[in-house]
Structures are given as C-alpha cells and as structure tokens.
C-alpha cells in the first residue's frame, strides 16, 4: 500500500490535472446550459426530464448499454476462456483477428455496413432474399448487435489479461477439493477474473451508453447521444444540449459508481502471479476444430463490415450493386488515396499524436490506478469514477471545449504574436498539444481500467516484500509491480493506441490546417469528394486498418513470445 501522505499528494495532483485537462474545457461549454444572460438558470436541466422525448432517450440509451454489455460479455467471455485453456492450430491468427473489429475506420464503416446489409447488399444477393431491409427493421436490437460485435474486443482483451493473471494453483486446489467444471468456473475462476471483467464491462457499458455512430447508421434516433448530436448541429444556437450532456455525464458517473459498488468490489488478489503458467491443453483434429469454430463464427460476422469496406476500396464506382461482390475491380482508388499529399502528413500526424497521447495516458493511468487500488484514502473511489467520465461525454462537446480554451489562451497578452506560445497554445497555428491532450483524456478510461484490474489481481505482498528488502517505491514499481501487470498494461496500450488513431470528433475540429490533419480527418476529407469519395476514402480506410493490424502484430513481434505468454493467447 502507498503511504497516506503520498496518496493524498497524488490524489490532489491527479484531480488537478483532470480538472485542467478535462473539466475546464467541458465546463467552458456546458455552462451555456446553466446560465442565461449571465444568470444561473436551471430551466434547461428541468427541460431534459420534463420533455418526454428526452427522458425516453436517456432510458433507451440505458437499455442499449445494458443490452450491448450483456451481449458483448456473452461473446467475449467464452472466447477468452477457450483461448486461455486450449491450444489449437491457427489460434494465434484467430486471436489476432478477434481484435480487428475494433479498428473499423470511421465514415467508411457505415458504407461497409450498407454494402453488406443494404436492401441491394451482398447478404440479400447471396441468399437471394430480395430487398430485405435489415438496416430499417428491428433498429433497437440491430444497434445492440452491431455495438456488441464492435466492442467485444475491449472485453476480450481485459478478460484475457485477467485470466492470464489467475494463479493456476487456485483452480488446481479447487479441483483437488472436488470443485470442477462449471462450478469451478462460477465459484473460483469468475470471481478471480472479476476485476478484468469489470474493467472491460464498464468501458463497454459507458461506451455504448454514449455511442453515436452505430445508432446513426441504424437510424435509431431516440437515444441521448443522437439527441445531443442533433441539438448541437442545429442551426439555432441553443443551450439545451449542454444540459443534456450534463445529465449524461452525471448518469455515466452514477452508473459507474453503482456498477463499482455492485460488481467491482469483488476483487480477490492472489498471493502468487501465474508466472509459471498453467499449460493450455493442446488439441488436434475434430476437437481443435470444435474449439476453433466459435472463433471463426464470431470473426466472420464481426468482420462483415470490414469486408464491405475492403471490397468497396477495390470496386469501380457503381459496379457493386445487387451482387455478392463488385462486378469490376480496380486499384485506382488506392492510387488516388495513397498518392494524395494529405495522406503522408496524415500518417505522420496520427502516429505522433497517438503515441504522445498513449505516453501521457500511461503515466496518468498508473498513478490513478495506484491511488485507487493501493491506497486507503476515503476519496479514492471518486478519483476512480472521475477517470471514467471522459467516456461519457460526446466527442463533439469536448472538441468545442478545447477550442474555447485554446481561444482564451491564445488571446492572452503573453501568448499573442509570440511564435513559441502560439505554436503551443493556439490550435489555429498548431493543434498538437490540444490533440494530444484530447486523445489522452478521452482514452484514459481504457488504461486506468486495465491497470487497476491488474493491480486488484496482484497481491500487495509482492511490493511490501520488495520494500522490506530495501527497494525504494519507484524501484518496486519498476521491477516488481509493472512486470506483474504487464498483460494489463499492454491491453490498455493497444486499446488506447488503436482508438486514438481512429479518433474523429477532436480531429475534425481541432486539426484545422491540412498540415496537421490526422489520418481520420484525411479519410473524412476524401469522403467528401463527390462521386468517387466513398471509394477513395474506403481505400485509405483499408490502409489504416492494415497499418493498425501491422502495428499490433509488430508490437507482438517486438515483445517476442512475451506477449503470447502474458495473455496466454
């Protein structure tokens, strides 16, 4: 455990950092929902609850979040368990492919869905069903299914890391005492992996509570995220959406607190790390096929939109229509997308912004997780929840917030017309600092949850032993704790990096000059080209997907066998 005084210093410092990097920009925007002509006014807030459409929207968002989380758990948990217990031919590639759904590029992802599930899409053509309207019917369940299929990797990664941390001796002891099979899973494995499951579950829950893209694809408009988006984009400037954002924020905070109180407290730390490792059972033949089948099934469904994007990227304009695949293929879309002068800059910028953001994330997340898990100060739960709320705020709102802060700072007398400060603080001159902050803050929850879950599973005894043997706290952290939770750190890093590379709202608004466009904004700009836009943007989207996949595989190579053994995948 960390000392009370150190914990308080860290707590104050971290709360201060979150206040400056997250709550200040947020407040600079949502205060508009509480002040009218300079005076406090709560009528907008009341309006959220008295207008039945908005009250219903909040309830629907909650229902979507519950449904998505349950379905994502049902998909991810069995797969993580199978990957942990069995070795079979093709497992490494299947395990890697399981993560690919989370790297669907923005804007063109919707095109991928339409090409596959549209009335004249590939599915209807393949099954000769006629123009069945998959995207127009059962919108509520449609949103849940699509969200679960894109978010289960978050749960899978966290669950895999949690399973990797379980000391096999615990399960062996249970078996020796006659507790086997499902009972062992329910009584021993599940409680031991609960921190990881909770970490993934809360992220999926809050994410789907505020998710915008999928409800928009499915035209499901009566949910809070779409209502905020619609109101923010309205031509009349109204304060109402800010009150709604505040309600979503409080709801996200509250739901997390309730979840933590209900599920998150069941953390059982283990006295030894699974360093020796339970050897996974090696399967061959039909048994291996049987275990691989669920992986293949989930991947095949979850990657359908990706397949749609890939085929669109190779498609001659207008040649994929009422057919299973395009009638004519071309590489011209790739030539146009990759030869564009924005593309190279976009790649460079995305890499720079995302890498810096992940670094910031890592430092903040380790500090937060330590205060939350390894201290006993009374307000640690609050810090935990505060680190989660960036997930509950729409990206567009945060982007407006960062713009407002940059505008304030860039007009300060000591900033104006001084190149160094303008480059740092004025997004019109150089948005790097604000983009890195925006990416880092909005991706912080993944890292905090992953690391906190790791710490919860690892007994404090290891750190105390190191301290008893004379190691200073930072040495114990570097030499003992971090290596023990490396699987969780890597899980958090992968999620934070991948989602930073695919960040949309902040990128669209903060990167205003072509020199600073990240790859997502480049895709957006190409998508705007009339006629060929969707094909060219799909080509760059596919390149981004492949690049991210290569990055993930590359990090695996860099870590050699460690990654596999850390996750046992």
């Amino acid at each position: 455990m960390i000392r009370q005084r150190t914990a308080w210093i860290l707590f104050c410092g971290l709360t201060g950092i979150l206040a400056v990097l997250f709550f200040w920009p947020l407040w600079s925007v949502i205060r508009g929902g509480f002040f009218f002509e300079g005076r406090f006014d709560y009528s907008y807030l009341v309006g959220v609850f008295t207008n039945p459409v908005y009250a219903e929207g909040l309830l629907n968002s909650l229902r979507l979040a519950v449904g998505t989380t349950i379905l994502a758990i049902l998909i991810a948990l069995p797969l993580a368990w199978l990957a942990d217990r069995y070795n079979f031919p093709g497992k490494p590639i299947l395990s890697a492919l399981l993560l690919v759904p989370m790297i669907l590029p923005p804007f063109v992802g919707a095109i991928g869905f339409q090409q596959i599930l549209g009335q004249y899409g590939a599915l209807n053509s393949l099954l000769r069903l006629g123009p069945v309207d998959w995207l127009g019917r059962g919108r509520y369940f449609g949103v849940i299914i699509l969200q679960a299929l894109s978010l289960y990797p978050v749960l899978y990664l966290n669950a895999a890391a949690a399973l990797a941390n379980i000391d096999p001796a615990m399960e062996e002891a249970a078996e020796n005492l006659g507790c086997a099979g499902l009972r062992k899973f329910r009584r021993i494995t599940l409680p031991l992996m609960m921190p990881g499951l909770f970490a993934g579950g809360t992220i999926v829950f809050i994410w789907s509570f505020t998710e915008l893209g999928t409800p928009l694809i499915m035209n499901y408009t009566r949910c809070a995220s779409v209502q905020v988006y619609d109101a923010l984009k309205e031509i009349t400037s109204v304060a109402f959406p800010y009150a709604l954002v505040f309600v979503m924020l409080v709801a996200g905070f509250g739901l997390y607190a309730v979840g933590k109180w209900t599920f998150g407290r069941q953390a059982f730390a283990m006295q030894s790390k699974a360093a020796t490792g339970r050897s996974a059972t090696r399967l061959h033949g039909s048994r291996a096929l049987l275990v691989a089948l669920p992986f293949v099934f989930v991947i095949a469904i979850a990657l359908l939109p990706h397949l749609g994007v890939v085929l669109t990227s190779f498609c001659e304009p207008g040649s994929w229509y009422r057919s299973v695949w395009p009638a004519r293929f071309t590489t011209a879309n790739y030539v146009e997308a990759l030869s564009h002068e924005m593309t190279i800059a976009g790649i460079r910028n995305s890499l720079l912004f995302s890498s810096l953001a992940v670094l910031v994330n890592l430092v903040l997340a380790i500090a937060i997780a330590f205060v939350v898990v390894r201290s006993e100060i009374p307000l640690r739960g609050m810090l935990d929840a505060l680190a989660m709320v960036p997930l509950a705020v729409p990206g567009l709102v945060m982007a407006f917030g960062y713009l407002a802060i940059s505008a304030q700072l860039s007009n300060l007398p000591w900033v104006k017309d001084r190149p160094f400060w303008e480059n740092l603080l004025d997004v019109r001159t150089n948005p790097t600092l604000f983009l890195v902050i925006a990416y880092a803050v909005r991706r912080l929850p993944y890292m905090v949850r992953a690391i906190a879950a790791g710490l919860q599973q690892i007994s404090v005894v290891f750190e105390e032993s190191a301290a008893n043997l004379g190691a200073r706290p930072l040495t114990a952290l570097r030499r003992i704790t971090l290596p023990l939770i490396m699987a969780n750190i890597i899980a958090g890093l992968l999620l934070a990096f991948a989602f930073s590379m695919l960040e949309v709202s902040d990128s669209l608004m903060l990167a205003q000059r072509a020199d600073f466009y990240p790859i997502t904004k480049t895709i957006y700009e190409l998508f705007q080209l009339i006629g060929t836009g969707k094909y060219v943007a799909s080509a760059l989207g596919v390149w981004a997907m492949v690049f991210l996949a290569v990055t993930l595989v590359g990090s695996g190579l860099l870590l050699g066998r460690k990654l596999g053994s850390l996750f046992r995948i």
């Binding site: 300079g38 009528s43 309006g47 207008n51 039945p52 095109i111 549209g118 009335q119 004249y120 006629g130 123009p131 995207l135 127009g136 408009t221 009566r222 619609d230 984009k233 309205e234 031509i235 009349t236 400037s237 304009p317 207008g318 229509y321 009638a327 004519r328 790739y334 030539v335 990759l338 030869s339 002068e341 924005m342 593309t343 190279i344 407006f400 713009l403 407002a404 505008a407 304030q408 860039s410 007009n411 007398p413 104006k416 019109r428 669209l508 608004m509 205003q512 000059r513 072509a514 904004k521 700009e525 705007q528 080209l529 009339i530 006629g531 060929t532 390149w543 690049f547 290569v550 190579l557």
Partner: protein
Amino acid sequence: MWRNFTALLVAAFVIALPFTLRQRKNASAWKPGDPVLVLVSPHNKAIEYEFGQAFSRWHEKEYGQPVKTDWRSIGGTTEIMRYLAAQYVSAFRAWWIGQGKPWPAGTGEAILDERFASSPPSSEIASNPEALRQWQIKRQAHTEFRRVDDANAFGAKIDLFFGGGAYDHEKAWRQGLTVEPWPPDSPPPDTIFGEDAGELIPERLGGEKWRSKTFFGNALSTFGICYNLDRLKDLGIAKPPRSWSDLTDPRYFGQLGVADPTKSGSIAKAFEMIIYSECYRTVVAAGYAPAQIAEYETRIQQAGLPPGVMCEGVPSAYQEAVEQGWLAGLNLVRLICANARYFTDSASKVPIDVSMGDAAAGIAIDFYGRYQAQYSCGPNGEPRMVFVTPVGGSSVSADPISLLRGAPNREIAIRFIRFVLSEDGQKLWNYQPGTPGGPVKFALRRLPIRRDFYPSENPHIQTAYERHRAFTTDDLGQPGVNPYELAYSFPYYPRWTARHFNVQRDLIRIMCMDAGEELRAAWRAIIRNGGPQRLTRAMQALNRLPSQPEPLDWRSALTMAAPTPRERLAYMREWTVYFRQSYREAREIAESSSP
C-alpha cells in the same frame, strides 16, 4: 524466423506504399514573403484545390505575386459558425479587458446579439442601478465590437468565410462577424454588374437572397428528388416522382432519405418552399389566377397593413386560401416525413443511399444528385438513379462568400472575392477539367451564379453563354438545370411563408422528428388498415395541430416568430406531448378500424 521476416516485409510494404505513390507537389511559384490568404470553408478538397490554384495564377497575372491559400476546415457550416462566434468573443474580450474595461457576465452573448442594440433595458434592469450600469457597459461593448475592423485590435485570424448557405452568412453579418468589402453602391467592375450585360448577380430571386452588402452568392444549388429506378419497380411504383406530393405515396413508407431541415438553413428554406408551393397550388385551386394573385399581393404590400388583414379590393376568401394552403403545406411535409427512413445533415448521404438502392427516393441537392447519378450507372451506361427538379417549384439557393471582421489580409481577401465573382472564377464551377480557364484536375459540377453563363434574351449575355457552353460539364441552358429558369418560373410572395420560417422549422422538427417514431407508427397503421382515403378519422387525428399556447394556424404562428429561449423550450415541450398524443390516437383509431 521466416514468420518474423515475412511480417516485417509486410509492414515495410504497407508503410512504404504511400511514400512510393506520393505525388510530387507542383512546383509552386509562391515563396515565403509572398501574400497568404486564410479561408474557413465547408467546401471539399476539390473546390479548395481548384480555387487555390486558379486564384494564385490570377493574382500573379494581375498583381505580380502568387498567393498561398491557407484553408481551415472545421467540419460543417454549423461548426464553423460556432467556432467563429467563440473566436470573436474571445479575441474581443481580451482586447476589451486589455484596455482596462470591465466585462460583466453575459457580455459575450450581448455583443453577438443583433437585437441588443435596439432593445431598451427591461424594467427590472432599469430599476436596479448596478444592473443598469452593467447593461450600459454591454451596450458600449456591443457598439465597439461592430465599429472596429482592425486585425491589430481583434479578429479570428481568418480572412474569408467561403461557402455554406445564405442563412449562415446572413447570421454571421447579424452577429457582427462579417464586414462590407466595398461600398454597397460601388462594387468592382465585372462582378455584380457587367458593362453591357447589366445585373449579373441578382440580389434576390425566387424567394432566396443571393447577395447582400456583406455576402455574395457565387454558386447556386436547388433541391430536388432523386430516385432509384430498380427500387421503384420493386415497390410497384410505375410513375416516378415528379412533385413533392408524389413523395407522400404510402408505398414509399420507410424508403425516403430526407435532408434534415433543422441542421441547415438551405434545407430549411427548401422545406419552406415545399410548404409555399402547396400554398400556391391551393390558392390557384381556389380560383385565383396567377395574374390576379400578383395584383392582390402588390396591393397588400402597398397597403402595409398588419399580417392577415386584407386591404380594400382583396377578398377575405383569398387570405383564407393562403392560410388553408399553409396548413396543407404543413401536412404535405408531415406525410413526406412519415415516409422518411431517416433525416440526415450529410449532403452526400441521400444520393449515395438512393444510388445503392438503400432508399427508394430522397430529397437531395442538385449537383450531388446529378454527380451520383452519373457515377452509379450500370456497366453499359444504363441509369440506375435519376435526379429531377420537382414540378411546382424548388428554391434556388446561393453559396456565398463573406469578408470577416479584422481580416489579417484584407486586401488579398477582397481580391479573392472579386476573383470568385469574376468570369474567370465562375468558370471553375462548371468548366470541364483541362479546358481553357477551367479547373485543372476536378470537375466541380456546381452551377455558377452569374447570369452570363445561362441563355438569355439579352444579346450580350447570350453571346457569353454560347462562349461558355462549349466548355461546361453540364448543359446549363437545359430546362431543369438552368436555375434562372427555375427561379423565374416560381413566383414567390414572402408574405405567405417567409415570416413563418423559424416556427415552421421548430414545427417540422417536433411533429416529424422528435415525435417521428409515433408519426411513423401511426402512418404505418393507417396504411395497413385501409389507407388514408378510408381512415379519415385517423387522418384527422394525424393532421391535428396544437392548441397550446394558442391554436396554431397561419396567424398565430406569426406571433411566435421570435420567441425567447425559455418560451421556445416551453412550447416545444408542449407540442412534443401534443403530437405524440395525437399520433398515438391516430394509430389506435386505425388499428381499431381494420378492414
């Protein structure tokens, strides 16, 4: 080992690909020290590229120096408007405080509020000395904000706002963000007026404002209907949609892509025109000939009486027909929306979806519709999608350009406006790539605004049109394309619907979008249980309009044209409850009268 090597090879290939394919930048004549122009725009990269290149060449020819155009992209027009407002408030605040002046709460909102200067302080403020003092400071700030136009004082560090809709540019002017580039009565030659051709850019046409003293329309667009030929066949619709009312056909249920009127001033205007066209149809159906309507409207305008009060010689039945037409227009919009699959703020979504067959038909902007129709042809060039301008009218709106207050490169910015309005600039909108004076790389396929790109009885204009015709991508003289013909064929009387603009937008939002689920459920029940002709009681419930805060009709809607935010919040809540209730009732009636 081999696995690692292969993986590294793949990684190297992926990373090297964009570097290998990278195009060399055209050697630019621009060098540091030459002029720079900063523009904020919702236009796409093709437009930015062509206008940037062409303006630099033009400037070098005219003034001896190339210009670097620095384009700022901040999303759509709504985001640009919010961004500009925030930038100006922030910059002005710093400048104001820097002079040692106080900044009471609410000053930011006050300086942007056009009405603040003209409205006296409320009695509550007037009776409180401190509140009155603060109010006076705000008024002083308001006046000063609109007086100063100096980049050294404050500004957004941006010169021009290029693109978006007239609604947004008008709003930017009302907020004090834009300024006049030249005295209104002496524009540069060959921009708004030609030497021989007369007025080249009208101030207004067909109900739309095309230019003002601060903003200048430079490209035109209309809204029309696009439809997928195969989907229509699937739905058993033999006659393709030709008018707005065709889109109320129950067979389109769940199959229409509709542009969202709450997120774009141009689309809101297009919806106003749908209501207006129904209004016009109703008045004509009531027995008033176009000439008679024109005469009555002239008399009404000259009399200057309050709205709805008829002057001598104009029968009250005429006004009743206008009011009936307005209600019929609202119901027409409601039924189109009842068939809607979605409402979108993305200009490209509707034509893309229709071309893919994911929507049977939709409301789209002309150039998106035509472009997509061309790109979605079958292997032998057979059309899959068609774009038509509806019979009975559509608005023709302009995409303007405005000079921003405190522009750091004011002179260059004014030259850019001149270029955009000149014949050279206008050619870029529709000339084929590679033609003399045309774009270099991209066919932009927009409609230029200048009169001399379209056929005319004026010989000078006709000569110019003939000259351009050989190089344009579209046949600009073709009926259905020529925006002047469309605008002239559409007599517009602003009295009928223009003052209802805001309340119409709120009404459409609530009755069609906020209560959209209930509307669609009711409409589906009506269709399934015998249709609108049979279920008259259900249709009555569906078509009801709210009675709170007062019975809503043409006259009462006028009193709600400029509500305070609190009033708006209240009536929107009441209307939401009302419409949901009415639609549920309509659904119940329909379901209880199943055939």
